[in-house]
Symmetry: C2
Subunit: 601 residues, 2 copies
C-alpha cells in the first residue's frame, strides 16, 4: 500500500462529466464494485459526489503493474487513480448513473487502504436490522440515502442561518452546563467536582437564557441549539435533539409569525423545491380540537369531526343520554366508502380507540335510501339522516359515532381520523399543509397535583384582554402561544413572553407558588424583569423532525448522524458505559445498588 | 404602561442618519440618559445599533400628555417613540455619536416597561467587580463593548461557515452524550437513568466521531462544537468551550495547512480588516523550543535564546561545567537596554524563573568597552565577548545566562523572553504574527507512569519515514502534527491521523497497551479502520480565544455570553446547585459525605 498521498486528487467524481473528453484527472474514493471481463477490469469508484466507471485495460494503455494491482481490488478498498476521461461507446452508456456517458481509463493507481468485506452492502434499500446499521454507523452513513440526509441538513442549516442573519438576528451560544429547572421534563444531571454535592443540568431548551438575552438588549437572537430531555424514550424520541431557537424583542405576534412563515416557506423552496403558500392559515386550539380532534391536525385531508349531539338529543338511547346529561359530547366521523365494513372491521376500529378511553363507536352504514346500524332501533331513520347530514356522509360511507367526555372523544376520534386518512389513502403525500395553532389555554388543571399548571411554560404571556381572568377564571385564559404544524407534526412552538414582573407574579400566583417559592425557582428572572425588559417572544423549531419531513424519511434516527436507540444507547461507541471507581470518587458520588445486600439499621 | 405593542418599530437607531430629514420613524429601545433643560426633555435612546437623541418639546409639537410621560422616564426604561428625524442646529451637533447630526422630535411615546436603577452604569470602562457583572450578566451584556463582542463572534462564525461551505465541507453534528474516553483530560459524567450504574461523558472534542465521519465517506467535515473538560480551572479556562472542528480526507498535510491559512487570513481580513500574509511560516517544534523556549512563540518580537555552551566550555566556573557534564544546556537571553539594572531588578528576574526550576541567572552587563558581571572573574573578557556576540548583545544590553537541564532552561527563558517583551515594550501590538509549529515529537516518556504517552493523542500519524522508529526509538518519532500559533497563543492544533490498523496497533504497542487493552479502549475505531478508511487529518481551533484576540480582549470570560467563574459557577442562574433527593434516587446515585460519620468495618 502507498504511504501517504502520492496522487493528489484533482477532481471529484461528479466533475468528470463537466471536463472536456481527454482531460487527465486524479480521482480518489472507494471501490463500489469490481468486475473482470476477459482481462479488462471495470471498477465503479465512489466518492461523496457519486459513482464513475474506471477502466483498467492493457490495450488502452493501463500499465501491467497497474493491471496487477487492480486485480487485487475488492469492495470498499480506498484508492486514488490517475486517468483520462473518455466518452463511452454508445452501447455501453449507463443511464442509471450521472456519469454514465463517460468512463476513466486508468494510467496509475494507488491503493490507499484495504477493506474487509462489509457486514452489509453499501447501497440503499438494504434489508438490515437497525442495531447492525447503528453499530456500523460509519458504514451505514456511506449509503447514498444517508449521505443525502447529511447534505440536506447542511443545506437547511445554511439557509436558516442566512435568512436569520439577513433579518438582523444574532447567533449567540448559551451554556450546556446549566441549572436544573423545575416545571419541566426530567433533567440530565452532571455532578460538579469543584462543588461536591452540586449538579449542573443539561438544558431542555435555552428558554431562560434567550429571554435574558432579550433583557440584555440583543433584540434578535437565534441558535441551532442542542437540547436534552431524560424522558422515557418512545420509538421516535432522542435524548439529545437539535432545535432552531429564536427570540426577538419589539415585534408583536403577528409580525413575528409572518416572519417565521417566510423563513419556513423559504427553507422548503430553497432546499427541497417545494412551494408553500403564505400566510399560513391559523386555527385556534379549540377549533382544531373540535374539528380535527388534535392540536396538530394533518390538513392534507379534511374529514372533520361533526358534533351530532343535537341530532340525538331526547332519544331513548341510554348511552347517549347519559353522556349528554353529564356534559359530554357526541361526535361523528365519516369513513368514506366503508359502508360495507364487516363487524370484524368495525371491531378493529373500536379496539383502536379503546386505549384513548373511548369505550365504543356506534357505526351507521349509509346506503342508497337507508341506513344500517345497531343503534337504528333507538334513533330511527330521521335522526340517522340528520346525523349523516351533519357528518357530511354520502351513500356508501360509514359514520362512526363516539360519545363520552370531551377530553376522551376528541383525541380518540382525532387519532381515528388520522388512521382512516392513512388506511383509506385519503392523504396526498405530495402536499405540505402548514397551519398555526393559536390561542392555546394558558393553564390546565392538574388533578394529581391539585393545582393549575402551565400548558406551555410559566413565562407564556396571556392575551392582554384575558389577564384579569388569571385571578378569577384561570382555565379561561388564552395564551399568546402558537405551534407551527405541518402534515400532522408539530414542527415548532413558541409564545410571546411575560415581560413585566407584575404579570409574572400574577402567573406564579395562579400556579399556586408562594412569593418565596417563585423567587426560589426563578429569582434571577424576576430580578431581571425589573431592569428594563422589552416585550419579547420567540419560537423553537424541531430541526430533526423538519429534516425528516424534508427528506421524506420515516424515523428521526435516520436523520441524525449518530443517533441513540430507544434505550438511549449509542451502539457504535458503547455509551453509556460503566466508569472507573476513581472517576466517581473524585466526584464524591456513588452508584446505589438496586437491592441493598444488608438492611440498614 | 402600554399593554403590548401599539407603536410598531419602523427603523433602528442607526438607520436615522440614512433617512431624509422630516421622515417619520418609530424607534424602540432603552433610555440611556434623560435631561430636562428648562422644560425641554432630551433622552438618549439606545437600541442594538447605537444611540440617538430624542427631543420632547411642547414648542416643537410634542403633545402635553407625551411631555408628562417623558417626565417620568428614568435610565433603562423601555420605550417606543414616534417622531420626526430632523437635522440638529450646528452648535448642538454631537460628534461623539454616529447619529450626532440629527435628533428625533417626539410626537408619541409608549412606555413599554419601567426599570429599577441598575447596579452599575450601562457603559464601557466601568470599574465594577467581575462577580457583580456576572451576576447581572443581562445588564453587563447591554454595554457597547459586550454587544460588539457578540456581533464579532456572530460575524466570525458566519465567515468561517461560508468559507467551509464554499470549500465543500459539510457541517455534521456529533453527540454531546457520549462515551468516557481514556487517555484524555477529566470527563464530565452524566448518569444514565435507563442503564443505572452507567454514565455518558460529555465530549472533550468530537475527535473520534470526526474520524468516523471520514471512515463514513463524508470527506470534508466541520462543526462549531461545544467541548467540555473537567480541569482545575485556571483564571482563563472555561469548563465548556467552543471549537471550530474540522476534518478532511485525501488531502496531504501541505494542502490542508494552506487551506487553513487561507481561511484564517480571510477571517481576519473580513471581520477585523487585518491583512495577514500567507503562507504562514513554519517552525519545527525543536527549533521553536531552542530559539524561543516555547512551542507557542510570540513572534511580534525577536529576542532569541542563544546557545552559549561553546563559549563557556572549559572554564573553571563549576556551575557551567557541571551542567555541561551532565548533558545540560547553557542559553543566553538579551534584555535590551538593561545594562544598568540594579541587583534588585536582576533578583526579580531570577525570582521570575525560579518556579520553572531554574535556580539562577548569570547576568552580564555589556558596556562600551567592557563587561560587568559576577561571573567575569571565572570567564574572563574574551569569553564574555563571545557570549555577548552569540547573544547579539549591544553595549547597554544585559545578557542573562541560564544553565541547567534543557527541559528546565528552555521554558524558563522562554517565559522570561515573553516577560521582557512585555515589560520592555518590545511588542508591536498592532501586529498579528502567525506561525505553524510542526514536527512535534509523537511520544514523550512519562516517568510517573513508566511508559511512553502520546503528546497529541494516540491517533496522530507519525511521519512516514519515522514509522520504523516506533519499535526502536519511540522518542525520536516525529508526528504529522501542527499547531497554529498567533502572538504567543496556540489558536489551533491538529494532525494527520493514523488510518491503517497496522500502524495504529504499532502505536498502541509503543504506548504499552496490550492488544486487549487497546481493543477494550478503542475497539470500535480499530474495527472501523478495517473497512476502508481514507487518509485523513484535521484541526480544531479555539474560537473563544480567537474572538478574544480579534476583539482585543484580555479575558475569555469577556468573549462568552454566559461564562463561568474559575470555580465553574454560573453566578447568574446559580449553577451548579443541589438537586432534589428524588432526582438522585431515580438515577440510583447518591452523594458521598466528605467525612464519613462512622468508620467502616
Amino acid at each position: 500500500m502507498t504511504q501517504g498521498i502520492r496522487l493528489r486528487r484533482t477532481h471529484m467524481v461528479a466533475d468528470t462529466i463537466r471536463v472536456p473528453g481527454g482531460t487527465e484527472v486524479v480521482l480518489a474514493g472507494w471501490v463500489q464494485r469490481r468486475r473482470d471481463l476477459g482481462g479488462i477490469i471495470f471498477v465503479d469508484l465512489r466518492d461523496r459526489t457519486g459513482l464513475v466507471q474506471l477502466v483498467f485495460d492493457r490495450e488502452r494503455g493501463t500499465p501491467a503493474a497497474v493491471m496487477e494491482a487492480a486485480d487485487h481490488l475488492r469492495n470498499e478498498y480506498v484508492v486514488a487513480v490517475r486517468g483520462e476521461v473518455v466518452a463511452r461507446a454508445p452501447h455501453t452508456v449507463n443511464p442509471k448513473i450521472a456519469t454514465g456517458e463517460i468512463e476513466v481509463v486508468v494510467a496509475d493507481l494507488d491503493v490507499l487502504n484495504a477493506a474487509k468485506h462489509p457486514p452489509f452492502p453499501i447501497e440503499d434499500g438494504i434489508d438490515v436490522e437497525e442495531p447492525v446499521r447503528l453499530r456500523y454507523r460509519y458504514l451505514d452513513l456511506r449509503r447514498p440515502q444517508m449521505q443525502q440526509m447529511l447534505r440536506l441538513r447542511h443545506q437547511a442549516y445554511r439557509f436558516l442561518r442566512r435568512f436569520l442573519d439577513d433579518h438582523g438576528f444574532l447567533e449567540v451560544e448559551t451554556p450546556i452546563l446549566t441549572k436544573s429547572t423545575p416545571e419541566g421534563a426530567r433533567d440530565y444531571l452532571v455532578p460538579s467536582r469543584l462543588q461536591p454535592g452540586s449538579f449542573y443540568a443539561l438544558p431542555q431548551s435555552p428558554q431562560l437564557f434567550k429571554q435574558l438575552l432579550m433583557v440584555a438588549g440583543v433584540e434578535r437572537y437565534y441558535q441551532i441549539a442542542r437540547c436534552f430531555r431524560d424522558e422515557d424514550l418512545r420509538a421516535d424520541r432522542q435524548p439529545e435533539f437539535t432545535q432552531l431557537d429564536i427570540e426577538q424583542s419589539f415585534m408583536d405576534m403577528d409580525e413575528f409569525l409572518h416572519l417565521m412563515e417566510e423563513m419556513v416557506a423559504g427553507l422548503f423552496r430553497e432546499v427541497a423545491g417545494i412551494e408553500v403558500a403564505t400566510p399560513f392559515p391559523r386555527l385556534p386550539y379549540r377549533e382544531a380540537m373540535e374539528r380535527y380532534g388534535s392540536d396538530k391536525p394533518d390538513l392534507r385531508f379534511e374529514l372533520p369531526l361533526a358534533d351530532v349531539a343535537d341530532a340525538v338529543r331526547g332519544t331513548e338511547f341510554r348511552v347517549f343520554q347519559d353522556v349528554l346529561a353529564r356534559g359530554g359530547v357526541i361526535k361523528a366521523l365519516v369513513a368514506p366508502g366503508c359502508a360495507g365494513y364487516s363487524r370484524k372491521q368495525i371491531d378493529e376500529l373500536i379496539q383502536f380507540v379503546a386505549p384513548f378511553g373511548l369505550k365504543g363507536l356506534a357505526p351507521v352504514a349509509v346506503e342508497e335510501g337507508g341506513f344500517r346500524s345497531p343503534v337504528a332501533k333507538f334513533l330511527g331513520d330521521e335522526r340517522l339522516r340528520a346525523i349523516a347530514e351533519r357528518a357530511g356522509a354520502q351513500p356508501g360511507d360509514l359514520v362512526l359515532i363516539g360519545a363520552a367526555d370531551r377530553q376522551v372523544v376528541l383525541p380518540a376520534l382525532g387519532a381515528l381520523r388520522n388512521k382512516l386518512g392513512h388506511d383509506l389513502g385519503l392523504i396526498d403525500t405530495s402536499q405540505f399543509r402548514f397551519v398555526w395553532i393559536t390561542d392555546f389555554p394558558l393553564l390546565s388543571y392538574d388533578e394529581e397535583e391539585g393545582r393549575w399548571v402551565a400548558e406551555h411554560h410559566p413565562f407564556t404571556m396571556p392575551r392582554w384582554e384575558d389577564v384579569p381572568l388569571l385571578d378569577t377564571d384561570p382555565g379561561a385564559v388564552r395564551a399568546q402561544a402558537y405551534d407551527m404544524v405541518l402534515n400532522g407534526y408539530e414542527i415548532g412552538g413558541g409564545s410571546m413572553r411575560i415581560y413585566r414582573r407584575d404579570i409574572q407574579e400574577k402567573m406564579f400566583t395562579a400556579l399556586g407558588f408562594s412569593r418565596e417559592e417563585a423567587y426560589d425557582k426563578f429569582g434571577f428572572l424576576l430580578d431581571a424583569f425589573e431592569y428594563g425588559t422589552p416585550p419579547h417572544g420567540g419560537i423553537a423549531f424541531g430541526l430533526d423532525r423538519i429534516i425528516m419531513i424534508l427528506g421524506g424519511g420515516q424515523s428521526l434516527r435516520d436523520c441524525i448522524a449518530f443517533p441513540k436507540t430507544s434505550s438511549g444507547a449509542d451502539l457504535m461507541v458503547g455509551a453509556p458505559s460503566p466508569v472507573n471507581r476513581e472517576q466517581l470518587d473524585i466526584l464524591r458520588i456513588q452508584v446505589r445498588q438496586p437491592e441493598p445486600t444488608a438492611p440498614k439499621a
